[in-house]
Symmetry: C2
Subunit: 182 residues, 2 copies
DNA sequence: CACAATACGGAGACTGTCTCCGTTTTAGCA
DNA sequence: TGCTAAAACGGAGACAGTCTCCGTATTGTG
């Protein structure tokens, strides 16, 4: 990659991070280009779709989400507390930019999406947590990690969409009770 | 309301029902106007926002949702089965038009939304089901009807957004297990 | 330093939203 | 029935966002 290209790539990404945080993932891409000091053509060459741009920003999170999963397992807390903590961290990450959660929900089961791979990384992180639960015999039979992931992303999505800023905890408690063995 | 106004109002609504079903609630409103044989001005006079149009279409469902809730209670089935059935019906209704579920999620906690009142009607229907569960002692303590509603709408939203057409049942089973007393 | 390859950027085509206002339709009344 | 004021129509067009094309500029390599 040529030096000027790399420079612009980074500028666009940094600007997108700011704008997406300020105004959500539906902000105007042309405006991001303008604020980054590049032409729209340049933005679209580097990131052909909005999803591709969101995806590039997600790199940081997937790492953190992965780390959080392992950290949650390592705490050694009882199943309910561990799960609650993990879910809350997960939701915090994927709602960092308004609108991102529902994009992730959509990409999760769509292998054609540029974000699919990153969703898998997060899915794997979640699977480790659920598997750990299973090994310690705390998992209710029939619970599938992929569905847990969908369910928690759904909660994130609701919280993100909701105008009131909602406490996700009570919803997560229901989910957790449905996951851990009675 | 003048006769021509009523005629156009009905034509727009009928067309919107078709287009929203075919292509989801994000279809072009100008196109709906065109297919209904009216000018865009007419559409926007009757329905100032897209939400207002979705809201008008929702009238049918809220009635059916309400009826379904009472029917579920009347079945006399055990708590788990009754809840599962109710949730599935509810989701069927609110995912009738692609994109509607997430609009409902958003409107649910936004009193300024034109759809807010209808969401309340559905919320009340759900509350009746949950209250019934509570009376028969099947409700896990601390479970709140509003959060159940949010949770299930979240599932609907995930299913609706998902490209693969997803079976909601396994997710609902987790939710149900989190709701009924162990 | 030259020149091929690479990247830039902005004009503009296109699509969708929404409004304004001149024209048409309606309903009530003589 | 014919007249009139009020109500409603509809489409031109302003505006905003997406995305592309291609003439111009920058880069790095021989």
């Amino acid at each position: 990659m040529r030096a000027d290209a790399r420079r612009n790539y980074d500028k666009i990404l940094a600007t997108a991070r700011i704008v997406f945080t300020e105004r959500g993932t539906d902000s105007s891409l042309d405006e991001i280009a303008k604020r980054a000091g590049v032409g729209p053509g340049t933005l679209y060459r580097h990131f052909p779709t909005r999803e591709a741009l969101v995806d590039a920003l997600m790199q940081d999170w997937t790492d953190r989400v992965s780390a959080d999963a392992d950290a949650a397992i390592a705490t050694g807390l009882p199943a309910r507390e561990m799960l609650l903590g993990w879910f809350e961290h997960f939701i915090d990450h994927i709602t960092l930019h308004r609108g991102a959660a529902s994009k992730i929900c959509a990409a999760m089961d769509d292998p054609a999406s540029p974000m699919y791979r990153k969703c898998r990384v997060m899915g794997d992180a979640n699977r480790r947590v659920i598997d750990h639960l299973d090994e310690s015999g705390d998992l209710r039979p029939g619970v599938d990690a992929a569905n847990v992931m969908r369910l928690v992303s759904g909660v994130a999505s609701v919280a993100d969409t909701s105008h009131a800023d909602l406490d996700v905890r009570p919803m997560l408690e229901v989910v957790v009770d449905g996951i851990v063995r009675a």
